[in-house]
Amino acid sequence: MRPLIIAAALAALAAPALADEPGPGGSKPPVARTGEEIYRTYCQACHMADAKGAVGAGTFPALASNPRLGTTGYAAYIIANGKGGMPWFKDMLSKEQAQALIGYLRTHFGNNYKDPVTAADVEAFGQRPTSRF
């Protein structure tokens, strides 16, 4: 583990600032483990606590009663890679977190898809942070 920690720290240090940002301290939330915790921590910021989305100059889509959650692959792809204004989360969520989150979304907020999210579905997650150039 140790070399990995040092490597990660080096990568963080080497990244130049390319935006006005708080500083190097981080901005770390408590670690979210269950699907619900992960939803509250990362997703309801835009998709809202009731998963119904919101409207401003544009729209944050509803995840509640959303037939696109019918397949595990679609949710996994969008969360990993982002879409439009939504950033990619493949470097913010671990494979385990992605699996728990997608399972939670597919069985809550009026979605009722019981087939399990597999390890293969979330292969893309747990990546090292991407350069911001």
Partner: protein, 530 residues
């Protein structure tokens, strides 16, 4: 005297080069002289000779849009600006007492700050080399004052070091540098650097290490008046009988390393974060107001753009009036579109597939700022902190102290959080009341005696929930830059995009202005060819 007359002065030379090769050549030459190395701004554009009656519609009254309108009107175009909000400035914005802000999801905050106090939800500091912005601030009468970027006496807190006790920046930095100096000195003595350095070099380096790291005569970093003069004293030097200072204890080096202080020190070495920095007197929003004094007469507010189309004859923009209702289609010969990509990607256009793909390829970062109004300036009165930031590894990111009205009695607003990344998502997902509670709880780590006691009221802005931008700033990466950037910034027939998202100075006002100047210069050339 003779020589002096024949050798041109630097200014004469620059003028001559300017006449021959234009501003780019001047810029390049200035760089050679060691000037201007940090900016791309070569002065306001000289756009003239617009065709009589040519019209431009500008979408968005943020800084990019207003600058485009200002320069294009000067060049002779007839300009109209459409703005979604009921105010100019875009992300250049300050919240004052009496302001009301409703975020996406519906939560409304009534800002309760005392007169003169404010929160800058977006931009809040200006690097000294952001010359475009500084130029137009001066030109439009926006007064600037120093922004205290670097304060040795503020704190650094890391939950994983010193049992969660914050330490003064200067103590951590001094102990880090002192220990590094001592270790390097040992490496020299053990001949570890001999392959890289000559004997003369190592002598010089040892002397440098001794003075830089405050080492003693034996090249050791120890408790004493030397180390204390960098890290702070146990008892500061005084006058009279008991005037002698007492040195302070050093912090354990393993904890200093755990605190991550090197990253904080490196942060201040980033060229965007080096002193001197500035802020407008009275709030960042004064810049937007200054621009609006020039082009306010051109702006239609509450205009929500729903369609953007172009054909051989011109551009047509359909918008609804969100205040009074009703739909209008405005026409112009050309269009400068500064609408954030989060929103533009959801607007119907007949731009090329490639352009639409570029617009949809750039996600936006998040960010949360929280202002806390305190009854008194306890950080100044009790802890000798005047401006600057105290950093924390908690999700609030930092707290930052006001840079103006030092020593004043009465309420002051400190920045209770500047969060981004993972922590900012969680804060954004909270209600405004929950955000204030987290800010108070986490910020108390720095000022446990006073923080909750002196708190009066607070306000927060979570950028993902700001209705007109739905995010903080465009977030490029190497792949999207390679695949989409040039497509995004290219003039497509009659339409050009501008804004921080169309720059390499992302998330800075300077980026939006440089993008705007570049975009209108190219659009003007295109218009002259028409």
């Amino acid at each position: 005297m003779d020589t002096e007359r024949r050798t041109p002065t630097r200014r004469q030379l620059l003028n001559a080069i300017g006449l021959m090769g234009g501003t780019a050549a001047v810029y390049q030459m200035m760089t050679t002289f060691g000037h201007a190395a940090e900016t791309r701004f070569a002065g306001p554009p000289k756009l003239d000779g617009a065709r009589k009656g040519s019209t431009v519609i500008v979408l968005g009254a943020g800084l990019a849009g207003m600058l485009a309108a200002y320069e294009l009107e000067k060049a002779g175009y007839k300009v109209q600006i459409l703005e979604f909000q009921n105010r100019p400035g875009g992300r250049n914005w300050s919240l004052y007492g009496g302001d009301k802000f409703t975020e996406m999801g519906g939560a409304t905050q009534n800002v309760g700050f005392a007169k003169g106090n404010y929160l800058n939800p977006g931009p809040w500091r200006i690097p000294h080399h952001h010359r475009t912005l500084l130029h137009y601030c001066k030109a439009f009468g926006v007064a600037l004052e120093p922004f205290i970027q670097f304060n040795h006496n503020a704190y650094v807190h890391n939950a994983d070091a010193f049992g969660g006790q914050p330490q003064r920046f200067r103590s951590l930095a001094a102990d880090f540098e002192g220990n590094i100096a001592e270790l390097l000195g040992k490496a020299i003595d053990q001949k570890a650097l001999d392959t890289r350095l000559t004997a003369e070099d190592t002598d010089r380096l040892k002397e440098a290490l001794r003075s830089w790291g405050m080492l003693d005569k034996d090249m050791r970093y120890v408790k004493g008046l030397g180390s204390s003069s960098h890290r702070g004293f146990e008892l500061a030097p005084g006058g009279g009988v008991n005037g002698a200072p007492k040195p302070s204890d050093l912090l354990p080096f393993d904890e200093v390393l755990k605190s991550g202080i090197a990253a904080n020190m490196a942060f201040f070495m980033n060229d965007e974060f080096q002193t001197t920095m500035f802020q407008p007197v009275g709030g960042m929003g004064k810049i937007g107001e200054g621009f609006a004094r020039q082009v306010g007469h051109l702006i239609t507010y509450n205009a929500k753009v729903t369609k953007l189309f172009q054909d051989k004859s011109g551009v047509s923009v359909t918008y609804t009036d969100t205040a009074k209702g009703g739909t209008t289609t405005a026409k112009a010969d050309f269009c400068v579109c500064t609408i954030p990509l989060t929103v533009l990607s959801q607007i119907e256009t007949n731009l090329s597939e490639k352009k639409q793909a570029a617009i949809a390829a750039v996600p936006y970062s998040n960010g949360v700022k929280i202002g806390l109004e305190m009854r008194r300036r306890f950080w100044e009165e009790d802890q000798d902190i005047y401006g600057g930031h105290s950093f924390t590894s908690q999700e609030i990111g930092l707290i930052s102290y006001p840079n103006n009205n030092f020593f004043q009695d009465g309420p002051a607003v400190l920045l209770g959080s500047f969060a981004n990344g993972a922590g900012a998502y969680r804060l954004t997902g909270m209600t405004p009341e929950q955000r204030i509670e987290v800010a108070l709880e986490q910020g108390s780590v720095f000022h446990p005696q006073q923080y909750r006691k002196e708190f009066m009221n607070g306000a927060s802005v979570a950028w993902n929930r700001v209705p007109w931008v739905m995010g903080c700033c465009a977030r490029w990466n190497e792949d999207t830059r390679r695949e989409h950037y040039q497509t995004l910034v290219a003039v497509e027939d009659r339409i050009v995009l501008a804004g921080e998202h169309a720059s390499y100075v992302g998330c800075w006002m300077e980026g939006s202005l440089l993008s705007s100047l570049d975009a209108i210069t190219r659009l003007h050339q295109r218009a002259l060819q028409a």
